[in-house]
Symmetry: C2
Subunit: 204 residues, 2 copies
């Protein structure tokens, strides 16, 4: 059975996926370090000890490489929103949970890529998908905020403006976070959320 075609087919697909992933990981690291435009696929290939042609076997073009990286990051954020929403506790508790996770994701390879990449980097064809995901996250953020306002666990705030403000603050670490720095992502995330929540807590 260990030689059954099923097993083999699955194995092969897994191999392929693993290689594709490795390409994306290498690419996102270089994008984050030197910037998307300063990174050639030749560079990425070299860093993996393969040739550029091989990359094109797993991904259609450079634009798709970027889109995949960004998608991974954005999907992590969406997951974080879902998880937070499923949590017990007050609306405020769920919000804090979400924010904490949000910041941490933004200090991960793919999250950093998301916060560093603007629309200019993507092709016309990739934009719709990118925007759709962004929108979803914004909607999720607003929903979580609205729920917390609803149950009174945070003060009454302008949900839309607050979502923008939070998004900006939370994305920022993607720009300056240095893994070799003194603070861990968890510490940074805690401190930032503390600062931000002050403005949201109900006041007497």
């Amino acid at each position: 059975m260990q030689n059954s075609p099923f097993r083999n087919a699955a194995q092969r697909e897994a191999d392929r996926a693993a290689k594709r992933d490795a390409v994306l990981r290498a690419a996102v690291r270089m994008f984050n370090e030197r910037g998307f435009f300063a990174t050639s696929l030749d560079d990425v290939a070299a860093s993996l000890g393969i040739s550029k042609r091989t990359i094109y076997h797993y991904l259609a073009n450079k634009d798709q490489v970027l889109l995949e990286c960004i998608t991974i990051g954005l999907e992590q954020l969406l997951e974080a929103a879902d998880e937070a929403r499923a949590e017990p506790g007050s609306g405020r508790d769920r919000l804090v949970k979400f924010l904490r996770r949000y910041v941490e994701i933004n200090m991960d390879d793919f999250g950093i890529c998301v916060s560093r990449t603007g629309e200019e980097a993507l092709s016309r064809e990739s934009l719709p998908r990118y925007r759709a995901l962004k929108k979803k996250i914004d909607v999720a953020m607003r929903q979580i905020l609205a729920e917390a306002v609803e149950d009174g666990s945070i003060g009454p705030i302008d949900v839309k403006m607050t979502a923008f403000t939070l998004a900006g603050a939370l994305n920022w670490p993607g720009r300056w976070y240095d893994p070799k720095g003194a603070l861990t992502p968890a510490e940074i995330s805690e401190a930032m959320v503390k600062v931000l929540m002050g403005g949201l807590d109900p006041r007497s």
Copy 2:
């Protein structure tokens, strides 16, 4: 006297400066619209009805064009800090003044360029100056925060982390602000600062 050489020399220099400025303005608009890397100096020249060679008469290279644009934006921020510091009133008042202005600058052409441009876009030679200016602004922000904490007009907070958090939130509008949108810069700035200050106000 209107033909005195002084007048003429000054006039000429003013003309030159005006042209240089026009180039920078045209360039920054295109950078903001399509991104720095997607904008060629040929494009910029065409938008002014001149040839690329003319641009090179006023600026050494593309890198310098960008550096000048960014410098203008960053210097506006520094000015804002100085003005805020000179203001009467409590530390909190001065802080609010600064934050309000900060956000507004980030919705102006040169400010947008600052918030959209990362270090990857600049050359090795330009980086030191860029970093020095950034640092100055960070220092100013922390100083203003520290003064407000000092005089008790805002709550005791972690100055460093708060400065980072604020910077992120305040830079964000540069990414999404649309001059044709419903909200004016002043409205956006007011709403954002309101959200943020909540977290800084002393609580009873």
